[in-house]
Point group: D3
Chain length 225, copies 6
């Protein structure tokens, strides 16, 4: 399967958890050895947030703050690459690189690309560029909820949600816990225009990704009917 | 004044109008000679649309179609540059280039940057990057209307419109003639986050731009209160 | 067979013909799937000519006009690439790129390279760089004629012509219909110095290319005895 | 004066100190506005060390670990740049960039360059490349000591030390507190071969740098007689 | 005056003559300090010829041999740059670089650009790109002769020669001593198409260049009437 | 076996010896065809030394002199590449290139990388980057000697030498004939930190390399116990 896997900031807190990183390295090696084609997109995490905050405080425009976060996310991509000799050994920094690197090697690890685009939007663009089969968005909650599950224990997790409902939720500014990052308008626009098969799941347990790829329903699926 | 000027596709129809192009070359030279700092962002036009359409028909993903449009918009940027020896002689292709070129020479001409971003979004990002004073969006209608002025002669042109109203209009999918391109969600998000002073005006008459810079109210202004 | 195929401007008129483009996409896929190694060099066409003309009129030097044509020819290369997922996904912009890309993937599509060189000269340089077997120059007439076949119906098409005769014809400024582009001095110098097996044929019928590769004599062959 | 200023990891602990960063931004602006030419080289700090450690633990070679530290040091350079609109807006990544950027703008901020070279060695190379007047190495102790001042309160700080003595100390593996980073053999080789006027001082107090530039003797000076 | 100066291989024999190199460094500094704008294009010389010969003998195509010569000519450009701190500190490797570097600094030193083009053709392209006033081709004879002055002492040096006569001479394969390099068809095509004011003179005496710039008639001038 | 082979300046004297070059081309083809993975690092030689000397004499800093030597060593790499169609066709110029090129093709030829690093240090960095098995340093003497074998006929060649002894010898400034280049502190630091299996042997006879790879003890081995 041709997989784009977005690994959110949960994997890159300021105090890095080598155990979780090792689990991911093992998982990615396994998936690649089984014949899957992979592009992994890493987020920034709390370390990135520190750099962004200070950058803003000393006078950066928002675009420069974005750039700081992008650079940090690339550092995270390099960190994963440290343990992945099977992957292409460099981090692409634009879509031309992605096309080139993925032509050479069907396993690429990368961070953000350009100000004004979240790494979720990047993952959707990569999906289009390589003609992927599935986009997996690994985050720190179980999927998309009706309300913030951290504040409301009765929040309902969706098994499926239509892109139309998602777009409406955003324009109504309804809070959706854990899904903020996913739900930036650009990501959804891209998911909608190319009807990208997208799953949101909890990446703190890497098993969830394995299960999903094995055919189980894990987390929330975005549908287009 | 530090100006970002978006020149929409109206300037680059399939049958190029050398007279209008010459008017713009003269205008830009004049503004630069008066001490203004300029980044000009060119759109694609109908020639670009042909390439995009055929690209899609022979099997491109949307991201590759975007890329085709970006390349075409850069061709348009080069065309303007042909007559602008005062400008930096190369077209930036990413935000790093923009920073570098604008540091060297306060007059840069460019097209699009990356799939998933309209040239309107690019203009907003450039505004942030260089810390501009004003973003002028030259298009083929007089400004933002309550309805499509081409189909409804009673449509009312706004002198000002708040970013909040604009965002609402989009989520309600109300048709706004001539402003489609401007109103992609990403552009508005960027305009909102940096409170970018943005004007939409009719670029078919380059005098409008001169008047605006001279202090007149021309077209529609986006406001943030 | 290691083939360099020059596709002249006939394939890229201002109003693109999607049917002919599709025929070429199918032909190229077929040739590659049969084991041939391919570098395709695209010309500019009438769209390019418009951009060059206006560029010159607003003050460009000849080198900048050439550059405009080169960029346009690359756009044409990208257009073909849209339908060719088998090919290397990026357009080389210098001879180093060609070496790199062809090492990775034996199917590359490209446009011009540098002012002062026609795309015919580029095709000859690529022939040298990759050590090709044959250079096919697909143009809009049946081959090289004794006179302009468009104005003189009695013009005789050569089955073969020696490089020596060709060079003489040029220095005598004899008109040779349809072969102007081929016959720039640089192209011929390169063809002569490396004794490049060169065929000029009518590309408006892509079958001609198939036949030639299958061993038929189609068009005019340049010989070195 | 043409100054190369190495800012050690003390300025970039895992929990960034915005006050100290602001002091440095103010200092650098002041020096530049007074007519000094500046290249600032930033180290990695404890955040970098985390990334290097995990990189090594998941299987990186030493060269890749170095690369991780280099990328982190560049992040630090960007952070400083956030507040320095007077500086060249991009971080050079090789010596060619340095030459280009410094030709354009006499104020450049950068991190490391290449595995196998500490940022101290980088600072010395930059000194040679731009033909600087002085190399200031701001670290977290007052200068070079006869012994580790953190463990031995009687350690004597040198006002001056000859390059010959320094090289001897290294080969004898004598511990010299706070100067470890400075004293890698490559840095000293470069300092020696170009007789680079080098000062080691405590950068935790940015006033030390101002005083030194104003002509005071602060910290330890390396001499060549 | 905006000057393109081609320095032929005479300045770069296998055993370099530091005295002549120093004379050129002094001359170029002087011209630049007097307000002239300069692009210097260096040839290969006999050292280059060795590398080209061996490259061909071990199996290179002509294009790769050209590349070897280009790299060597760039080495020569760097050598001159060693003594020219006033010039832009990097050697351009394509026409985009030339535009960028010359915009930053009106003194650029470079070698060849691309296979299939002599450094004479490069000089003519640079002339077009920067809109120069004069192209000076410094070679190892006094100008263009009616016959080879090395073999025929009665050979007549032309004060002026028309481009038409030059082109005829080439097609008639007449030997013209010392002008071989100048007279490759591509160089002449470029000189003709842009009516480039071109002078061929003896560069072994750098005074000739000074005199020419001061208004004297030195060597042979190509004329276009 | 994954081999890094350093070919010292002996292979690139000012008067190139095509016979020795051909022997090396044949040897490298043979090793690659037998399944070995190869990175070849070429030194500068006496031609390089000329360019460095003149560069210094006309005013270069040491870093610029280093750069001149690096460019020359890359020319030597290209020369070898002329005869090696099996190798990756371009010369890497930084460690990122090396990773990329070696991922594509397990046969890479290169020169130096950056001022402050000898090509011996480069070879050690490449060893780390690609995770090689052996580093062979082909020079112009039989190995490491107790004294200079050229001046003292009784000098003893070491079969093995410990890295510890080597480091001591350097700090004691003992002369070691023919090994100067190998023994720069940076190279040894890298060899020590990664316990690189390093052999120094006489490259004037390419058979030595074949024998070593076949399992014979040839030259001097650096050991780490």
């Amino acid at each position: 399967m041709k997989i784009v896997l977005k690994l959110g900031g949960f994997l890159f807190p300021k105090n890095l958890d080598i155990n979780l990183i090792n689990l991911y390295i093992d998982l990615l090696k396994k998936l690649f050895s089984e014949g899957h084609e992979l592009v992994v997109v890493t987020g920034g995490g709390t370390g990135a947030r520190d750099y962004i905050d200070i950058s803003r405080k000393v006078g950066s425009s928002e675009a420069i703050c974005d750039e700081m976060g992008i650079e940090y996310s690339r550092l995270n991509a390099r960190l994963l690459l440290s343990g992945l000799k099977e992957a292409f050994p460099e981090v692409p920094v634009n879509l031309h690189d992605i096309k080139r690197y993925f032509k050479i090697n069907k396993f690429v690890v990368m961070g953000g690309l350009q100000p004004g685009q979240s790494t979720n939007a990047v993952a959707a663009l990569v999906f289009e560029i390589i003609g992927a089969d599935i986009l997996i968005n690994a985050t720190d909650v179980e999927g998309i909820y009706s309300e913030d599950p951290k504040t409301n224990p009765n929040a309902k997790k969706y098994e499926e949600i239509s892109i139309k409902d998602l777009l409406e939720i955003i324009s109504n500014k309804q809070a959706i816990a854990g899904s903020y990052d996913l739900l930036d308008p650009l990501s959804l626009t891209l998911i909608a225009r190319s009807k990208i098969e997208t799953w949101i799941l909890n990446g703190k347990n890497p098993k969830n990704i394995e299960k999903l790829i094995a055919g189980e329903h894990v987390g929330t699926k975005i549908v287009f009917s």
